[in-house]
């Protein structure tokens, strides 16, 4: 029996350029006890669908067609007061970015009480104990104490648990989870998703999980719907979708999702795969890090961000640096790229200790051009006032003696190299898409022929299909130019695709390093095993355990 039925739903937004249809006639059903995954890349209309169903669209958005029926109630026609009664009691929602989703100046216990009191699940006298029970239900230890906490005192994962507690406090029958793990660390991600899955199973709820991560959706959902440009392109069980995708777009998504056993070329659609790259053998050391430390003076004493790490990167080699937020990987890459000075230790580059050349003056150092970086957030890494051309030309102008005319030619050559159409060179960053910005960022970094390139999560903000393209571009550039990479990432599966060796960091220390194959297949440190276990496993080839448990 279907709990929720959506028929031919259309949602449009009034914008300055007229009406834009974000959802163009989709139909789907959620049955009792079913977990439906809606998968799509940014702009596919997946989140809009859920907001339309909650009738929480932005002011300029409206449901322009179709019907929404929940348990016999017509949600499109229902009065606002009816909707308010339904929200939180029948249908609940959890969100991405949990910290922002909580009122920053209200105790979390009170926020839960607000919902309980609103739906008459508690009275003034027993609200407190009911709220504490709700906190315990989401496996928050020491719930009594947490009741009095403000969101800023809690970790991201803990905030998400509180958001879940608010959503589930009144025992709704349908839970909508909108990218519930975006912005959380990978191990927290798994803990949160496991918790959601357990609670859904415990309470026999139905759920709609909205995500861009096909692997995650496949692991936790009974049925998947793939959306693109406001339409449903395919629907089916996770295994069928993965093993026999019908629609070209689904196939592309499935291919682009990093998974064990697949090479970087296999992320691309079949017709775009070129020959496997022939990577150079790496023998001579290029960069040797010896006992590198970084200690900051925090308000409450020294903070040891990096605690004496040593490793090397050979000429032409690609090394992955993996860890969760706060592990010290960003501090390490900032030191290597000579933006900040280490507290102690050596950075030997071609045998010369760069740590002795202070970061303040490194702009004039002879090795400046040889060490470059591709930044994580493509938007933030470009001067908003400079065109792509100016951004790429800047290092050429500052670090080489290239005359102006040759610089123009070189910029166009670089654009060709990274596959950026030349007309786009005169655009400002805000006029470029994420993938295009990633290309500009790479072009800028390789403009001065560096020997060593730090890639700081260059694909973290990109959709998977674009990520596949960018990763392949990086592999091609490495083969062509023989640059050494240090690939910084939180995702072991992505790192494996690009790197010969992997370094795993935690709390400012290296817990494990070795060849990519050995670290991935026979991890020696428990933390590496935890990381590996935490990343979602697409159902290839065996069916996932979750569906078996249902």
């Amino acid at each position: 029996m279907s709990l929720l039925s959506i028929q031919d739903l259309k949602v449009s937004f009034a914008t300055r350029r007229g009406s834009v249809e974000a959802v163009r006639g989709i139909s789907l059903e959620i049955r009792k006890g079913e977990v439906l995954g809606i998968v799509g890349e940014s702009g596919s209309g997946k989140s809009v669908t859920s907001y339309a169903l909650m009738r929480l669209l932005e002011r300029n958005g409206r449901i322009s067609g179709g019907s929404l029926t929940y348990g016999g109630i017509d949600l499109r026609q229902a009065r606002e007061s009816t909707m308010r009664d339904l929200r939180g009691r029948e249908i609940s929602m959890i969100f991405q970015n949990p910290r922002a989703a909580l009122n920053p100046i209200r105790k979390v216990g009170h926020q839960i009480e607000d919902v309980l009191r609103r739906h008459a699940k508690a009275t003034r006298s027993n609200a407190r104990s009911a709220a504490i029970r709700a906190l315990e239900a989401v496996r928050i230890r020491d719930a009594e104490a947490r009741y009095n906490a403000y969101p800023f005192e809690l970790s991201g994962g803990m905030c998400q648990r509180v958001v879940i507690a608010i959503a589930l406090a009144c025992d709704p029958k349908l839970l909508i989870a909108d990218e519930p793990t975006t912005g959380l660390d990978i191990t927290t991600q798994k803990a949160v998703m496991d918790l959601i899955a357990d609670l859904i199973a415990e309470r026999g709820m139905s759920a709609m999980v909205i995500t861009h991560d096909l692997g995650l959706a496949a692991q936790y959902c009974n049925r998947l719907v793939v959306m693109k440009d406001g339409e449903i392109v395919e629907e089916g069980g996770p295994e069928t979708l993965f093993s026999r995708p019908q629609h070209a777009y689904t196939r592309k998504l499935v291919d682009a999702t990093p998974r064990p056993g697949a090479s970087v070329r296999q992320l691309l659609p079949l017709d775009q795969r070129s020959a496997e790259p022939q990577l150079p053998k790496a023998e001579t050391p290029l960069l040797e890090i010896r006992d590198l430390t970084k200690t900051y003076q925090g308000r409450s004493g020294p903070v040891h961000a990096v605690k004496g790490i040593s490793f090397e990167v050979r000429k032409g080699e690609s090394v992955g640096l993996v860890g969760e937020s706060g592990c010290g990987k960003s501090t390490t890459s900032s030191m290597l790229v000579r933006l900040i000075d280490p507290t102690s230790g050596e950075i030997l580059f071609n045998g010369r200790d760069l740590a002795r050349s202070p970061a303040r003056n490194f702009a004039r150092d002879a090795d400046r051009a040889r060490i470059q970086m591709v930044f994580q957030d493509a938007t933030d890494s470009f001067n908003p006032r400079h065109t792509a051309r100016q951004s790429i030309a800047e290092p050429l102008a500052r670090l080489t003696n290239t005359p102006k005319r040759q610089r123009v030619a070189r910029v166009e050559e670089l654009a060709d190299l990274v596959g950026l159409p030349r007309p786009l060179l005169d655009r400002f960053p805000h006029q470029l898409s994420g993938g295009q910005k990633a290309r500009v960022g790479i072009a800028r970094a390789i403009a001065v022929d560096p020997q060593f390139l730090i890639l700081d999560e260059p694909t973290a903000a990109l959709d998977v299909s674009i990520q596949a393209i960018v990763l392949n571009l990086l592999v091609d550039l490495r083969t062509k130019l023989g640059i050494s990479y240090l690939f910084v990432s939180h995702d072991l599966h992505v790192v494996r695709l690009l790197c010969d060796r992997v370094i795993v960091m935690r709390d400012g220390e290296i817990v494990e390093q070795g060849t990519a194959a050995s670290v991935m297949e026979t991890p020696s440190h428990p933390y590496t095993r935890e990381l590996l276990a935490a990343s979602p496993k697409p159902p290839l080839p065996a069916p996932p355990e979750r569906t078996a448990a249902e």
Partner: protein, 341 residues
């Protein structure tokens, strides 16, 4: 809670260097007078002997750091010098006239808050509506109005044309008798005395200058409230609250408004600053016998001790007001105590 108390203590101690800075600046202002400060402080009619007397009294014959110590000591004991025009110690003149200024300023601020904040909230909850447009027009027009001009216009309309306002000369028409001084606030003193006739008279005098000041402070407050409310309403936690089915009242007041209050309270500091400045102009227009018109009168006769005393008094008053704002901010925002850890 201990953290909260410590924060409050910390805030209060933070005011100390500011007060010190204020005293230094006002000292520098008294010594920056072109020419011989002693001549200025002694006034036009002074002869050699009295100039010398002033010089020794102010310690002007000593080196600058020592002069500062003398000055700071004088300020500490409440000695701001003698006013030439009234012949009284400046501190006594100021103390006598301060209630008049406070009565006007506080009435205006109260009025302004009670109009601007609801207006801003209404405008933010109904973007594009008539209230929103009214708010926008008021805000843009309000910040463009020179207070002294508004005052003059209001006098012309309500006193000259309509004849419903009393003549713009001070706090009380001469037909009434000044109420016994208890607080110095006529409205309060008259009420305590039970003299409602005088109370009404004082109120009538107060209305126009208070409205003039209110018009001026309305704009920044309404603008800030609207902006803060809009940003609060578009934040994620409001979406969470709505998704949990909370009533619109709860969402608006417990969730949005309390958060929006934080930037509004911060703006209040700036508004106070403007109000205290505008107060001087309004007092001149309405011949209001507060410390602002005292300073203006002193300026005309080059009575520098009085002017500098006024500047210092206003600054200290403002420091206190800011401290109150800071403290109320600490009470609303639980995060404050932890930032300073």
């Amino acid at each position: 809670m201990a953290g909260r108390l410590r924060t409050i203590g910390l805030r209060i101690t933070h005011a100390i260097p500011v007060i010190l800075g204020v005293v230094v600046v006002s000292f520098l202002l008294t010594r920056a007078l072109p020419g011989d400060p002693a001549v200025y402080f002694a006034g036009h009619a002074a002869d050699e002997a009295s100039i010398e007397e002033v010089r020794t009294a102010l310690g002007l014959d000593k080196p600058l750091p020592e002069q500062f110590l003398v000055y700071a000591g004088n300020v500490l004991t409440g000695d701001l010098g003698q006013s030439l025009s009234t012949g009284q110690p400046v501190i006594e003149d100021l103390a006598h006239r301060l209630p008049a200024s406070l009565e006007l300023t506080l009435t205006a601020l109260l009025l302004s808050c009670t109009i601007a904040i609801p207006l801003g909230v209404l405008a933010a909850t109904r973007p594009g509506s008539a209230v929103d447009h009214l708010c926008r027009v008021l805000v843009t027009a309000g910040v463009s109005l020179p207070t002294f001009f508004t005052g003059v216009l209001l006098i012309y309309i309500f006193y000259y044309l309509l004849g419903i306002a009393p003549s713009p000369l001070g706090r009380l028409d001469f037909i009434y008798i000044e109420p016994d001084r208890i607080t110095g606030f006529y409205l309060i003193d008259a009420a305590i005395a039970g003299d409602w006739e005088t109370w009404t008279g004082a109120l009538k005098q107060l209305v126009l200058p208070a409205i003039t000041l209110t018009l001026f402070t309305l704009a920044p407050l309404a603008r800030m409230t609207r902006a803060a409310m809009l940003s609060a309403l578009s934040s994620d936690y409001i979406r969470t609250a709505r998704a949990a089915g909370l009533t619109e009242d709860k969402v608006l007041f417990t969730y949005a408004f309390r958060n929006a209050l934080l930037p509004v309270v911060t703006t209040l500091g700036m508004v106070f600053s403007f109000t205290l400045g505008a107060n001087v102009l309004v007092e001149k227009v309405f011949a209001w016998p507060g410390i602002g018109s005292y300073a203006v009168e002193a300026l005309v006769v080059s009575d520098y001790a009085a002017v500098q005393g006024f500047v210092l008094a206003m600054a200290l008053l403002f420091v206190v007001l800011n401290l109150v704002i800071d403290l109320s901010y600490t009470l609303i925002d639980p995060r404050i105590g932890f930032e300073t850890r």
